[in-house]
Amino acid sequence: MSAVAEPWVGQPLKRKEDPRLIMGRARYIDDINVTGQLWASFVRSPEAHAKITSIDTTEAKAFGGVHAVFTGNDLDLEAPLPMAWVPPGVEVKNPPHWALAKDEVHHVGDPVALVIGSDRYAVVDAAQQVYVEYEPLPVVVDLEQAYEGGDLVHADLGTNQCHEWSLGGGDLEAGFAAAEVVVERRIVNHRTAGAAIEPRGVLADYRAGSLTLTSSTQVPHFLRLFLALQLGISEDRVRAIAPEVGGGFGSKLQIYGEEIALAWASRKLERPVKWVESRSEGMLATHHGRDQIAYAKIGATRDGKITAYHTKILQDLGAYLMLLTPTIPSLGAFVMSGVYDIPAVQTDIIGVFTNKMPTDAIRGAGRPEATHQIELMIDQLADELGMDRLELRRKNFMAPESFPHETALGIVYDSGDYPKALDTLLELADLEAVKAQAAPGKLRGIGYSTYTEICGLAPSRVTGPSGFGLQTGLWESALVRVHITGAVTVYTGTSPHGQGLETTMAQIVAQRLGCDPQNVEVIHGDTGTGPQGLGTYGSRSTAVGGESVARATAKIVDKARQIVAHQLEAAVDDIELIDGKFAVKGSPDKGMTIGEISGAAYIPENLPDGMEPGLEEQAFYDPENFVFPFGAHGCVVEVDPDTGNVDVIKYAAVDDCGPAINPKIIDGQVHGGIVHAIGQALFERIHYNEDGQLVTGNFADYALPSAADVPSFDLDRTETPSPVNSLGVKGIGEAGTIAASPAITNAVLDALRPLGVTFINMPLGPQRVWEAIQEAKA
């Protein structure tokens, strides 16, 4: 390996993972088949709530090529599906949720039978021959109705209320007493789908007492743990593999019944079994997100100092609790006051069951909802005060010099400079000029959103024993192996699905070892080969996983310096990385590249007395605190008042995720995040009718934004390092999604202000906007 002297960190390198993806050579779950494999198809409930009175599988079993048909009572599992995280000190009602429903179904799409056979098409046909008799029960779909005593989703619970949890700090009563202006709004954050373009799929292969389960999952290590617990086998007999995963956005951060049922069936039949969902099936049975109603109340003095903020949140949980369901609104509660220094804040969360697919983490998970609420309330308050909305924001920003800043909730924000982010945004784009260019008859409006998020999930010290109810540590580990030839392999416990971590982590390692990132291979997503870890979500992969890689690499560097000092007969303290070589300060030409050092490291006679041969180190990293990326987004929309149609004309964003390891990758994630939120604000909505039937059950009815629906973006960054980790990094995967829905909504409201429209809830589709205009006219 040649000596190189590149500062790899900070460079917009092309991604290492791309060649296989652009040539069609990647292997996603549906590309993987094994000898002897059978196919599975699930029979799903067409009823939103019903008793199963009988299931007749006779004809299906006799169907050509069918090997077995299983129902809920066949599956002798150790436990219902897991719900891992519980808000602290709170009683959570957790109705049993089985991989196949046993005697009652609670939402359309609830699986009731599993058909297994030799052909992909035939099992779908055979599934049509499973005859299920249902006795319909009352259905409750509307969240407020379910909360206020509508029909019961689970009769034996006696209530639809799952849990209540509050997080508050400061004197709320005094805060509102001190307020001269109080604004209250009912803010709806409607149900959406993660809608990764790759559908979910599972291949379970149980042989000779060991299970290998390949799944399009974001959390292979969690999956291994729960497979072992569900099947009653030892964890070391289970290997979970996440192959190439085609997007996740939280919808693959789950332990799904299909994974458990297929593992069980593979053990039972002693054959590998594979299932890949259709999109229509995925819309029914892959978890949804958001779906909460906030009753928000904000108080301020006449001169714009916010004195108190209270939200009561109803969270639609759907019919069951899945892995993180009740925790999602809690994540939002941590940052409910956003970037503002508010002396009294409280969030009261009420989880409510309805006859719909469960909700769980979708990109941002709780934080987009919280940000949407505070950023809408700021604009509403500014209107009420007759104050400029940017002035109101500036007046209440946490001061840059106040970091680390402990909020009224007792959460410590690590670092931030909110005025700078906003100033940078205003320099980046002249939104006022764009607003002034409305086409004749059209209305333009500007929307802003200044935000922070809580990510880098999660410090076990905070989430584990003492506080917020995550019943597990959320560390990451990494193993860095420098081979004899100098090639480097990094094993990480995180499990990316499009975030470019192979490149990001290679840059981190190459920087420290003075080698080329092309010589650093990053292996992930396989519990059989990698070290332990807890997966990819909550913008934690670099802030937690990347830091564990940096720490393992630091141990390599320590050992390398000792080896070089021994070889050059120099003092260890004098050895440093200079121009790609570990050398004595002042005489870089005598140094050794990492390849030369590793060549020596595997031959004990080259080493100081007592040193173990080899050049391979592992590190576990459990952060001390969360990290808090932040930024300022602004946009201009154009509304056609005759049709209610909204076009996004310009979108500019300034984000701060600490030092950029790969700016190209960071920008890409911001772009994607913004469009995800534009989708929610303007197009996307999971809609059930009053009978609990999913109306938006495929991509023809559930409108994802296309290239034709969105503009290109203007991006910039500020860089405020986090003191929490040695890289100073925060996280970026969810930033765009968190910031953009309030920016779009505020822009639409700004455009409609001349017509007298003061408030509308998302999704801001043409009909809703048009109706709001008509109501204001009337």
Binding site: I22, D31, Y121, I197, E198, G246, G247, I665, N698, A708
Partner: protein, 147 residues
């Protein structure tokens, strides 16, 4: 049919979709399935030189046709200009929609070698991506049109 220049022949079920024929019979798994309503475009291939969604066509309907898939576009060291541009401009993240995006873009550039941004966006409206926000895909296609 001819697939990426090679003659292929098989007896298939009448209802077998072209996408499954390509993926499962021929093992060309670069063409992906992302929906069942022909909305996502992940399965886009070329049939007789034009982009089509291979989930909307039966394999039997392609009898005698000339098919090109992502595997026929370019190889390591000799990538198609669109593949190069997607790589250079970070026009992909998870990569699942990418083969379909590249095939749809190639069709556009055959018909309109110098499209403007709006024309690129319109041409790709039938291909959904959840990762990139389209910004870099559009950039990549415009860059490829220059090369």
């Amino acid at each position: 049919m001819t697939v990426n220049g090679a003659q292929q022949s098989a007896e298939v079920e009448p209802r077998l979709l072209l996408v499954h024929f390509l993926r499962e019979t021929l093992g060309l798994t670069g063409t992906h399935v992302g929906c069942d309503t022909s909305n996502c475009g992940a399965c886009t291939v070329h049939l007789n030189g034009e982009a089509i969604k291979s989930c909307t066509l039966l394999a039997a309907q392609a009898d005698g046709a000339e098919i090109k898939t992502i595997e026929g576009m370019g190889q390591e060291g000799a990538l198609h200009p669109l593949q190069e541009a997607f790589w250079e401009h970070h026009g992909l993240q998870c990569g699942y929609c990418t083969p379909g995006m590249i095939m749809a873009s190639a069709d556009l550039l055959q018909r309109n070698p110098k499209p403007n941004e709006e024309e690129v966006r319109e041409a790709l409206a039938g291909n959904l991506c959840r990762c990139t926000g389209y910004h870099n895909i559009v950039k990549a296609v415009l860059a490829a049109s220059e090369s």
